[in-house]
Structure formats: structure tokens, C-alpha cells
Symmetry: C2
Subunit: 301 residues, 2 copies
């Protein structure tokens, strides 16, 4: 019996709010998973590594880990070694791959969490069969990925897809990245939580699903900001499909219907071009960890 | 003597203000050229075709045209047959290629004018040797192209790169495309001309070069809008290089220095990532017609 048949590949999605980890099969199914809170951004990077290592240990208690893939909420360099910057975590030029490999003793791949989400959705989810796809992850902030010819476009230095930090309001709300008016300040878990004076964006989603009118309104408002931003991204990229994932996408059509309406109202050249569909991530909140594991498996060769 | 050695390839750049046409050599040099005003947007598309045909006839008076490439200020479909929409011209689902081939009796290629500019700059100009390049053309409006792995990214339907119609001010200035707050309403020939109550943006550029303080200020203001938008595009694309062409780029550092300053001030993750250079188009205002001719030559096989 070879190690390959007995070991597991683990994906870890390190978001601004939660760390989700799971054992992922070659066809993209999650067979076991754990969830923990992400350490606060003023904690040392070591504390985040502790959290990741704990999750991996738990998931590899019965069968050893062959490889670990990490999708990290930050700007990851082209080589997948370093998190150069993270608005929502303490990483600054952090050599995350080396640190985790030293701790875990297995090969580790690191990529941006929205990139791993896009990889998963395009291989196993809503993006299957599509070549030019725009992926948006709505979590603590907004992550993004542009899929070009069915592969994630990384830009010159690995940092493409940071759509959440495009300015949508001149002199607008202060962002964790240090700028003002960033898109994610108007539609994200943090933005919703602030608007509702709630603990998390998901609490607002749950209230809306339970029928609370003010929460439904907040989601509609966030959806309108989402759709307006998507219209700008359609002007730039002309995707055939938009996939929306991340924790906040659990709001479903309470968020996506207002987004679709705002997108169609603001799409430049509307009436003279195909209108892209806006779909929820088929793999739900697991997409990020599934893509991270899939990338790690691919690197095993 | 073969036709190939005696005939010429002609590029035509149809902008919102001027039609530039030229005979272009295989290595991207313009050996003769003509310029005419673009017919007003309320004129029938036939009138624009007349203008293009007149320019081609003039340039092929001595040696026959083998092929004609057109860079058109509009949303061109993937097949290069149809201009689906143009904010600044009368084209609406216009079968421009067929119409011009019927008139001219030679193979015609049609592409977006910013795409042809990007092609020229990446083959013969400022983008040579670079893989991930962002190209901006500042003319009547803002055109754009994203170069991915040294080729122009077209999106799903040929309409990618319309950066000028990304919303930068919610509820902002009315745009010719039908939306509000589009980037090109804050930095473009039209925007400058309106701000200065001048006839054209180039008149403002000329006044600034002659030292008129109010014109210099207007260019600095436009440059700040340019740089802020470029910062958003860097968040999205992470290019290694930004090339700025189009008629307005003749303003040079009077426009580009304020743009560079605003870009660096607004670049998300600044200090933790390489900062892209902002260069003027090396081929100047001829880049669009050079790229159009080069594309037409490539299609000749």
C-alpha cells in the first residue's frame, strides 16, 4: 500500500474572520473539515501559523498529510512563497510557505484565497466549461480572481485580482489597506457588520433570512454596490460568467438579485452585448479550501 | 515582381475626434499618412466609411493596398466583423468589416483602437519585452487594453478593456455611453475641453505647453484622476508596466507626473509590492494605426 493511497491532501482557507480546513478528494469533495476563528490582525503571524498547524494536525490524525494547500487572504507573490501584504491579517513580507513547511514537514503551497476559490469553481463548480470567468469572494473583505482561458491570471507579481481595493468612492470610507473608498468598504462582511452594528456580516445574513426587514434592506444596499462594481469589472474584463463565493454569498438571492439588477442597469453598452450571468459559488464556502488542496495535489505531480 | 513587394498595408485609427491613416512597414514604421476629422456621432455610419475609404484611396494612389487594418473607437466583437457599440460614434451593431471590404476590394481587419495601440506598443514600442502590460489611450474618451502574456486579452465577447467606462464617481458626470461617473468623464480630451471651455483637449495641452497656468492646472487635475484610476487597475491587474497613448498623451509629463504621484499615493499594498512604471506610448499618436496595419498584415499570412 503506497503512501499516495493512504495519505490525504488538506486544504486550508485563511480568511479575515475564519480559518476553514478540510481533507479534499481528487475530485474536489470535502470528506472532513474543521473551522476556527482567525486570530486578530494585531496578533503575531506565528499565532496564525499555530491555528493552521492545529487544523492540519486534527485533520491528519488518522491518515498522514501528503501535502497542504493554503489559500490566504493576502497578496501572495508569484512563487507562492511569501504573503507580501494582507489588509486583514498581520502578514507583511511573511515567508508563510517556509514557516509552514518547517512546522508541518510536508510540502505546502500558498496562494491567494480568491485564487484558490476561482480554481475550485472552474475545475469542479460553477465555472466548469467556461474560459473567461470573473470570481468574487465576499468575506471579511472582497477577494477576486480573473480567469483567463480557464486559468487564474496572476499579474506580473502574483497580486492581480484585488478588486476589493479598487476605489469606488473618491475620499470615501477608510479601508484597512490604508486607502479610502475601496469597494470592499461598501460590500463585505465588515461593511455589513458595521452598517448593522452587528458582530459579523453573517449575523446580518442570518437576520435577513429570518425575515428581518432592516437586514434585508442592508443586503439589498450591499447588493447594489456589488452590482455597480461588477458592471465596472465587466467593462474592464468582459467575462462570460461571474461567480460569487465567500461566506457572505450564503445570503444567496437576497444579495445577488439586487446585484444583478444593478449590474444590468450600469453595464456599459447594455443592449449591444451579451450580459454575463451572476452565479453563486457551486462549492459554497468550501471553494477556497478545495482549490487550495487541489493546487497542492497538482504540485505533488 | 510580386504584389507583396509592390503593394502596401494601410492602418486606419478611427477615433472620436480624428481619423489617422498611414502606410506602415513590416517593422512598424509609418512611411506616409493622412489625417481627417471624424464625422460627428449623429452622422450615418456611411459617412465614417466614406472618410476611411477616402484616406485609403489617397494612401494607395501609387501602390495598391494589399490589406487594410482598422482600429475603431468602439466595442468590436471577437470575430472582428462588427462594431457592437460606440459611445463616440454612430455605430450600433455595425458590420464594418463587410462594408469596408465591399468598398475597398481588399481584406480588412477591424479591432478596437486601444487594442491596436496595445499591439503596436508591445511589438514595436514601450511594451517590447514585457508580458503583463496595461495600455491606456487618452483621446476623446479613454480606451484600454490588458496585455496578458504579451497578447491582447479580449474577454469573452471581444469587449474587454473598456476601462473608461468603469464608474469612479457614484452618480457623477453623465457619459456618452449612457452611464454616470465613468472614468473618461474626468480624464480625456472631452473632459479637458469641457473644463477649459476649449474646442478640444489638444488645445488645452497646447496652452499648457505654452505655459498657461490654468491649462497646466487642468492637466494636473486630469493627471490625478488618471493616477487614481490606474491605482484601481493595478489592484485588479498587477501589471509590470503601464503605457499611456492616444492624442492627449502628447501632454507628456504635464499629465503623467501628476498621474504617477496619484498612482503611488493610491496603490493598495504600496511599500509591499513593486510599483509599475508609467510610460508614454513610444509610437505616439501613430500607435493605433500601426497596430491596426500590423494586425492586417499578420492576417495576410
Amino acid at each position: 500500500v503506497s503512501l499516495v493511497s493512504t495519505g490525504v491532501v488538506i486544504g486550508v482557507d485563511v480568511g479575515g474572520t475564519n480559518v476553514l480546513a478540510g481533507v479534499v478528494t481528487p475530485d474536489g469533495r470535502v470528506v472532513s473539515s474543521v473551522q476556527q476563528q482567525t486570530p486578530h490582525r494585531n496578533k503575531h503571524p506565528r499565532v496564525v501559523e499555530d491555528t493552521i498547524a492545529r487544523a492540519v494536525r486534527e485533520l491528519s490524525a488518522e491518515r498522514p498529510a501528503l501535502a497542504v494547500g493554503v489559500g490566504a487572504a493576502g497578496f501572495v507573490d508569484t512563487s507562492g512563497s511569501t504573503v507580501a501584504f494582507s489588509p486583514h491579517l498581520s502578514w507583511r513580507n511573511e515567508p508563510l510557505r517556509a514557516a509552514l513547511e518547517a512546522r508541518l514537514g510536508v510540502p505546502v503551497t500558498v496562494d491567494n484565497d480568491a485564487n484558490t476559490t476561482a480554481r475550485a469553481e472552474c475545475r469542479f463548480g460553477a465555472g466548469v466549461g467556461h474560459a473567461q470567468v470573473l470570481c468574487i469572494t465576499l468575506g471579511t473583505g472582497i477577494g477576486g480572481a480573473l480567469v483567463v482561458d480557464a486559468a487564474v491570471f496572476r499579474g506580473a507579481h502574483g497580486m492581480a485580482g484585488e478588486f476589493g481595493h479598487m476605489q469606488v468612492v473618491p475620499g470615501g470610507r477608510v479601508c484597512e489597506c490604508g486607502n479610502r473608498g475601496c469597494w470592499e468598504q461598501y460590500v463585505s462582511g465588515n461593511a455589513l457588520a458595521r452598517a448593522a452594528a452587528a458582530t459579523t456580516g453573517l449575523a446580518v445574513v442570518e437576520a435577513a433570512r429570518a425575515g428581518e426587514a432592516s437586514a434585508v434592506e442592508l443586503l439589498a444596499e450591499a447588493g447594489a454596490w456589488l452590482g455597480t462594481g461588477l458592471a465596472s469589472l465587466c467593462a474592464a474584463f468582459d467575462p462570460e460568467l461571474i461567480v460569487v463565493g465567500g461566506g457572505l454569498s450564503q445570503a444567496g438571492d437576497l444579495l445577488l438579485d439586487p446585484a444583478r439588477a444593478a449590474l444590468l442597469r450600469n453595464l456599459t453598452g447594455r443592449g449591444y452585448r451579451p450580459e454575463p450571468a451572476v452565479l453563486p459559488a457551486a462549492l459554497g464556502v468550501d471553494a477556497g479550501l478545495i482549490g487550495a488542496a487541489d493546487l497542492a495535489r497538482a504540485r505533488l505531480g
